[in-house]
């Protein structure tokens, strides 16, 4: 394995969980809902994924369990914010706290156990091509899913009727309601999709990234995913760029350290955040573009007048 190949492989694994969680949250926010509970859904996805894979021995069942667990958590959020019309920010934060606590409880008997690793697919022949083979054809299935999701979401959002309805609900829920769209139902759907993605991202952590369950193992990645959505100005393809940019800067920081470049490690590990802020500032300078894509109703509670 050459040095560069190892770098790229490491970047891919570091970026994938961010990408998965962020693409889900993008759809949620596009429908006008701000779910700050990504971290909580992720961590529950991670523990349920691990527990299922450990019990059944099948990492794929684990992935499925992660998705379902994320959806279950998001359903709770949906019930609170859509059916009971509670404050989204508070509910989202509560969801994160609940997720961290609940996952510790579920995972109690699973800490310190060796996990089941989600194996790379290794497409025969193709994955043996030097350099490009392992990078393009030797990943586990979730890496491909994460990239495919970006293009699917991008297409659905921009080119299909479903995407149009989601955007309409997110931009002006009163008008969408007046036109006869069921705002609450559309938002429920998006919230569930976001939960599934966050759960998937958590399962990636506990099954592929570091196959084990440890309390609080998401360590803030859910929050980075939230930031990436803003970074991407709610455009799906930019989430891909953002997640990989973040992953690249992070891994390069580690490389710089290992190479013995004399930059203090604390500075290097803050680089991904600094660069994210820098790009955000640059993007926000183009006000029209930001305005066009920002869901106008984000975070606002909608109560249909009956």
């Amino acid at each position: 394995m050459t040095g560069l190949e190892a770098v790229i492989l490491t970047i891919i694994t570091a970026s994938t969980p961010l990408l998965l969680a962020a693409i889900g949250e993008l759809v949620v926010e596009r429908s006008g809902v701000l779910n700050l509970g990504v971290e909580g859904m992720m961590v529950v996805g991670a523990v349920c994924g691990f527990a299922t894979a450990y019990t059944t021995g099948s990492p794929y069942l684990g992935v499925l369990a992660g998705i379902l667990a994320g959806m279950a958590m998001s359903l709770l959020f949906g019930f609170l914010t859509q059916t009971l019309a509670t404050n989204q920010v508070a509910s989202g934060l509560a969801l994160t706290l609940l997720g961290l606590g609940l996952s510790g409880l579920i995972g109690e008997s699973f800490t310190g156990l060796p996990g089941v690793k989600l194996q790379p697919i290794d497409i025969p022949v193709l994955s043996e091509i030097p350099f490009l083979g392992p990078i393009l054809f030797g990943q586990d299935i979730l890496v491909y899913i994460s990239v495919a999701l970006v293009f699917v979401v991008s297409h659905v959002m921009a080119r299909t009727r479903t995407g149009l309805v989601i955007r309409a609900v997110g931009d002006n829920h009163h008008s969408a309601h007046a036109l006869g769209y069921n705002v609450i139902a559309v938002r429920y759907g998006c919230i569930l999709f976001g939960g599934a993605c966050a759960g998937l991202s958590g399962a990636y952590l506990s099954l592929a990234y570091t196959p084990q369950w440890i309390e609080n193992m998401t360590s803030g990645r859910g929050w980075i995913a939230l930031a990436l959505v803003v970074f991407a100005t709610w455009i799906a393809r930019r989430v891909l760029i953002g997640a990989y940019l973040f992953g690249t800067v992070w891994i390069m920081g580690l490389y710089a350290q290992a190479l013995g470049i004399g930059i203090p490690s604390q500075v290097l590990s803050s680089f991904p955040y600094l660069i994210t802020i820098l790009v955000l500032v640059l993007i926000s300078r183009n006000r029209t573009l930001t305005k066009i894509n920002t869901p106008a109703c984000i975070g606002q509670t909608f109560v249909p007048d009956r």
Partner: protein
């Protein structure tokens, strides 16, 4: 009426019973309390302290009763948890993380009759002792093994924070390695976290990508060792035996062993001989142990065991001179040994570390 009488008799009998039980109180077991920073299932730091607690129970049987509180956050929360144990009648309380230092002292002031033991701290009182272990002794041994086992002559070190404890470990590891191969190289990556499996795994991958074929760590998760297993290199367990996470990759593990110390201190309270002390014990005091040497040829194993025996008997000190600092300055002259004060506050690298120490 008769009913009331019955009740009164019953109450009286119960009270008498309670009084006889009260008289037996003198032989009541000593309650020993433990405060852990992590879950006992962390398979590292807190797990090992809990093993110490179980050892007390096994050794002293019904003379003691143990209680513990796990996952106590460092800071104000800790004071509440420690106070609760004190109120519950604990006679001896172990607070097992550096960040419990101020809280331990604060509670100790309020309960002068209770004995406190604080791990890795440096502030003591009449009823507060401190204790820690010389983990660097184990690091020297694994450094020697690393140099023997490495083909590339490069080891990768996943480090947490640039504090003396970690710097001392890095130096001891490299000194051990250099005693076998003077040109041995050590690459260090700081992840600025005690516990982030993802980051630790990334760091291990990066180090392997740069030619390291030995991975060692001063962080708390099993992730770096698992990456070593996955990528076909070898490494060492941290704080606890991690062989089930890396059956092919773990060469040995430095195991924190608190049982001897915990049993001794509990006995001291039972005998009434307990005094406030500062203990920094190593292999000789059985506070640092090595798990079984695996996945290595017999000659390497023999060498490791010999070094371990010499350190245990006190015949050899890992920081015996001559030792040069990174810039070539002589730190310890030939024939001398680095004193405990300098060791405790170590903030410089020895010669050969391929890293700039973050200040």
């Amino acid at each position: 009426m008769r009913k009331i009488l019955k009740l009164a008799v019953a109450t009286a009998l119960l009270a008498a019973g309670a009084m006889t039980a009260g008289a037996a109180n003198a032989a009541d077991p000593l309650k020993v309390g433990f405060i852990y920073v992590g879950p006992i299932g962390d398979h590292g730091w807190s797990y090992q302290h809990d093993q110490g607690r179980l050892a007390i129970e096994a050794a002293l049987g019904d003379k003691v009763e143990t209680v513990y509180v796990e996952k106590v956050a460092e800071g104000p929360d800790a004071e509440r948890a420690i106070t609760r144990l004190a109120r519950q009648g604990a006679g001896l309380i172990f607070t097992t993380s550096f960040g419990f230092m101020e809280q331990t002292l604060a509670v100790a002031k309020k309960f002068p009759d209770i004995k406190f033991e604080h791990a890795t701290g440096y502030k003591r009182a009449d009823n507060v002792s401190t204790y820690s272990a010389r983990f660097y002794e184990g690091r020297y041994v694994i450094g020697q093994i690393a140099a023997k086992m490495s083909k590339s002559g490069i080891a990768g070190y996943v480090a947490s924070f640039p504090i003396p404890e970690v710097v001392r470990g890095i130096n001891a590891f490299l000194l051990g390695a250099q005693s076998v191969n003077p040109d041995f190289k050590l690459k260090v990556v700081w992840v600025n976290s005690w516990f982030d499996p993802g980051k630790e795994a990334d760091a291990a991958k990066v180090l392997i990508g740069q030619g390291a074929d030995i991975i060692t760590q001063h962080t708390d998760s099993t992730a770096p060792l698992q990456i070593a297993e996955e990528q076909g290199v070898v490494g060492f367990g941290q704080a606890s035996n991690m062989i089930k996470f890396a059956p092919k990759a773990q060469l040995t593990a430095i195991v924190d062993d608190w049982s001897t110390y915990y049993i001794d201190r509990t006995k001291a309270v039972l005998d009434g001989t307990w005094t406030s002390t500062d203990t920094w014990g190593g292999m000789g005091a059985k506070m640092v142990g090595m798990s079984e040497y695996t996945n290595m040829p017999d000659d390497v194993k023999a060498m490791a065991m010999e070094t371990q025996a010499k350190i245990t008997s006190g015949a050899f000190h890992p920081f015996a001179g001559p030792i040069y600092k990174q810039d070539g300055e002589l730190a310890v002259a030939e024939g001398a040994v680095l004193n405990d004060g300098t060791l405790a506050g170590m903030n410089w690298y020895v010669k050969g570390v391929d890293d700039t120490l973050p200040q």
